[in-house]
């Protein structure tokens, strides 16, 4: 009996390890810097990370289905420069431009999915290739220029507040994450995504169309990436071909940190989102205590390696 309560306590700790870690970091940085725990800084952390959270949601879906996408950063880049160029040249209205931006990411995501199925290759390698293609497309669109003077109504998406307090982009992110969370945990489509990642061979023999599901996941992730690109461009008020690049690594680190199995089939979305904010708090806090950008890279890398070690350990224990 006593053992049982102990065990369940351990389970609670491991189940809530992400929020606990986040709480600890907040506590530590609050002690180290008096500028950390202020409404202004906390809001900053929130709005600076919402586009990453949306991206990480896409990364999460792909990883749960047993895939991997390294091209997400440049998908974002393509969408951001396209939309910014159209808007700053006044060629298109805000709404059609946004829709076009999302649509282009859907197409790119679908392309990734189709390619990894058609080439019957590791998605990581396939998307390494498509990443280069997308990078080229982005620079062709931008011509290495940065686009400013975006319309006010567009920027409102990234900077506006609902009722004067709630950041609009955070609200959008919350809605998206909740919807994806419900799809993954409560619908038959979500169930199939986990099945395909967990054991593709058994999924195939259970009658699931593995290729279709994988392509669907890449395509849906494209929607999220497109939205994320638009929110980022709207918040910073400008876009160039480096907008969003490298974001896939933050997403992958957050997913792995939260316990998403690298082989697929396992993971909990809300934990991955908390993990995004752990990384966000970490970089914000380190900045406030004047640690600089480069040590931050090192810290991120160490966290990634440490989480791999931990996930290996739990995998062996189970």
């Amino acid at each position: 009996m006593e053992q049982k309560t102990k065990k369940s306590f351990g389970q609670i700790v491991s189940n809530f390890s992400m929020p606990i870690l986040l709480g600890l970091l907040v506590l530590i940085f609050s002690i180290l810097s008096d500028k950390f725990f202020t409404p202004l800084n906390l809001t900053n952390i929130l709005v600076q990370n919402v586009h990453i959270a949306i991206c990480a949601t896409g990364v999460f879906m792909i990883m749960v289905s047993g895939g991997c996408d390294l091209s997400i950063g440049y998908q974002m880049s393509v969408a951001a420069v396209l939309v910014a160029k159209l808007l700053s040249n006044g060629v298109m209205g805000v709404v059609p431009a946004i829709l076009l931006g999302i649509l282009i990411c859907v197409a790119l995501g679908c392309f990734n999915g189709v390619m990894s199925i058609a080439l019957n290759s590791q998605p990581m390698i396939v998307t390494l290739g498509t990443m280069a293609i997308f990078q080229g497309i982005s620079f062709l669109i931008s011509g290495s220029k940065t686009y400013h003077n975006l319309p006010r109504s567009f920027m409102f998406l990234g900077q506006g507040k609902v009722f004067g307090v709630i950041p609009l982009n955070a609200l959008i992110a919350l809605i998206i994450i909740v919807i994806v969370g419900i799809i993954l945990s409560r619908t038959h489509i979500g169930r199939k995504i986990y099945a395909v990642g967990d054991n593709p061979e058994a999924a195939k023999l259970a009658g699931l169309n593995v290729a279709k599901i994988k392509i669907l996941v890449f395509t849906c992730a494209g929607i999220l990436v497109g939205i994320s690109a638009i929110l980022l461009a709207a918040r910073s008020g400008s876009a160039d071909s480096n907008t969003g690049t490298g974001i896939e690594f933050t997403g992958i680190i957050a997913c792995v940190l939260s316990g998403v199995a690298l082989k697929g089939g396992e993971g909990t979305l809300w934990k991955a989102i908390v993990a995004v904010f752990i990384l966000g708090v970490l970089s914000n806090g380190m900045q406030l205590i004047n640690l600089g950008t480069y040590p931050q890279y090192i810290a991120k890398g160490i966290i990634m390696l440490a989480s791999l070690y931990l996930s290996n350990k739990t995998a062996k224990a189970a």
Binding site: I189, A202, G265
Partner: protein, 493 residues
């Protein structure tokens, strides 16, 4: 003179005794065949010699020195080499590189390619193998890859060479050349342990033959003193025990499934009919194409030609979903990798194939899902504290029941059981058999692939026998005998 002797070797795995007090001796310079049915213990025996397996009891005497076990390294040092059926080679390296990879002949830092290639060419020439030593391994035929492996063994100055199913994937001419090589080695005093399912060729190349059956040593005889029939008798030996539940319902006249000239996935011209309520067995040696045939039927491999019809209606099966829709269910061969989602709960496993029918709109109705798990879980008598437990935590028999439950949830009329009781203990086996019979009473029909001879003869009502991708015969119940099955399976009848 005896070069290698194994005394009283016993190897136990959890739940099975793979080798039970086996003693065999090998003379210097003889070709000694090792035969037995699937699962007789041949591969465990070879692994004991190669050091890959350490026996629980017994000793190994090599050249007068006694060892209680060998390690892979020790075995190589002694001059024991194995050429496995699945050769492990450096595919993207040259023949010469493969030959000299681990012989340590290069004194300096740099590889002397010229010297290597010259030595390799000389060696290959000896075996009438006219390939350039610079060729990449993966460009070679199976037969030539085998020769390279044998050359490697000779470079290591092998005194015992074990050939595991060497003729399984080579042509007749290549076989000729292989036999010349074997004869040549024999002249040089190398002891050859030869494992093959093809009994014919043993008479051509071997001096003596040892028979294993169910992990036990039967006897060693001179090959001249026997013939194929005699060997088969020795391999089969035992009488059938009556350990099978009685199936008192006879199959009906009605033909539910008709297969005509099915080709693809490595099998040719398979034709059979399945009657309602029947258990139709599929026999054959490893690689005969039984599972391959089932995968075709189930849509998991592309059909090249042939007709599959169910209740008189021709089916077009392109993927498993098509087969399932038509009413065909599969309990796959490899439970852990093809059947179960081990780190997912039991209810999750049961509902994965028909999850859409348990939904309200897009949302899974967890009550319906739990009810379905209860229904099939209880019907299949899955023993688990709770159906929320992960499938991986169950015993083999209960995992198999989960896979059957999953299949049943899609309401099939025909069930394919591929190795229904592999790795399952005796008690649970009986339950699975009883389940199968109960299913036929409900009007389901069963195709059963099995490598277990007793199970085949005990459960089937007719047996289709395959040999190297082709159908060699169908045996009716009155003609059931182990000898008959083995004859057809070996392609000698």
């Amino acid at each position: 003179m005896e070069l290698l002797e194994l005394h009283n070797i016993t190897k136990r795995y959890p739940g099975v005794t793979a080798l039970d007090n086996v003693s065999i001796s090998f003379r210097e310079g003889e070709v000694h065949a090792l035969v037995g049915e699937n699962g007789a213990g041949k591969s465990t025996f070879i692994k004991t010699i190669s050091g890959a397996v350490q026996p629980n009891e017994g000793e190994i005497v090599f050249d007068g020195v006694t060892y209680d076990h060998l390690t892979p390294q020790k075995s190589l040092e002694l001059g024991i080499s194995v050429v496995y059926q699945e050769m492990i080679q450096f595919e993207a390296m040259s023949v010469a590189d493969n030959l000299f990879m681990s012989d340590g002949s290069d004194g300096g830092l740099f590889v002397n390619d010229g010297e290597r290639n010259k030595k390799a060419a000389e060696l290959l020439e000896k075996f009438q193998c006219h390939i350039s030593p610079k060729t990449w391994i993966r460009e070679l035929s199976m037969a030539n890859r085998q020769i390279v492996e044998i050359c490697k063994a000779i470079l290591r100055k092998a005194r015992v060479l074990i050939l595991d199913e060497p003729t399984a994937s080579i042509t007749v001419e290549e076989q000729r050349r292989l036999f010349d090589v074997i004869k040549d080695l024999k002249k040089q005093g190398v002891t050859i342990i030869y494992i093959s399912h093809r009994l014919d060729e043993l008479f051509e190349i071997c001096d003596r033959v040892s028979i294993l059956r169910d992990g036990q040593y039967i006897k060693t005889i001179d090959i001249q003193d026997t013939d194929k029939q005699g060997l088969i008798k020795l391999m089969v030996g035992r009488e059938l025990s009556e350990n099978y539940p009685v199936k008192d319902n006879l199959p009906e006249e009605e033909v539910v499934l008709k297969i005509e000239n099915l080709c693809g996935n490595g099998v040719k011209n398979i034709s059979f009919e399945l009657h309602k309520g029947e258990i139709l067995g599929f026999a054959g040696l490893v690689g005969a194409g039984r599972t391959e045939t089932m995968m075709l039927l189930y849509g998991a491999a592309p059909i090249e030609s042939g007709i599959v019809s169910m209740n008189g209606e021709t089916l077009s099966i392109r993927r498993p979903a098509d087969a399932m829709k038509a009413g065909i269910g599969l309990i796959p061969e490899d439970r852990k990798w093809q059947g179960c989602f081990l780190d997912k709960p039991i209810y999750w496993n049961i509902s994965i194939s028909n999850i859409k029918t348990l939904c309200d709109g897009p949302f899974i109705n967890s009550k319906k899902e739990a009810a379905q798990a209860d229904l099939y879980g209880e019907r299949m008598r899955i023993k688990a504290p709770d159906f929320r437990v992960n499938a991986g935590a169950l015993s083999g028999g209960n995992q198999q029941k989960v896979v059957i439950a999953k299949s049943m949830a899609s309401l099939p009329d025909i069930l394919i059981f591929d190795e229904p009781t592999r790795g399952i203990d005796i008690g649970a086996r009986y339950e699975i058999y009883q389940l199968m019979i109960d299913l036929t009473k409900e009007g389901k029909s069963i195709l059963m692939v099995s490598s277990d001879m007793e199970e085949l003869l005990g459960m089937s009502e007719r047996i289709v026998v395959l040999h190297e991708g082709e159908q060699t015969g169908t045996i009716e119940k009155p003609d059931f005998s182990q000898e008959r099955v083995l004859e057809l399976a070996s392609g000698i009848a």
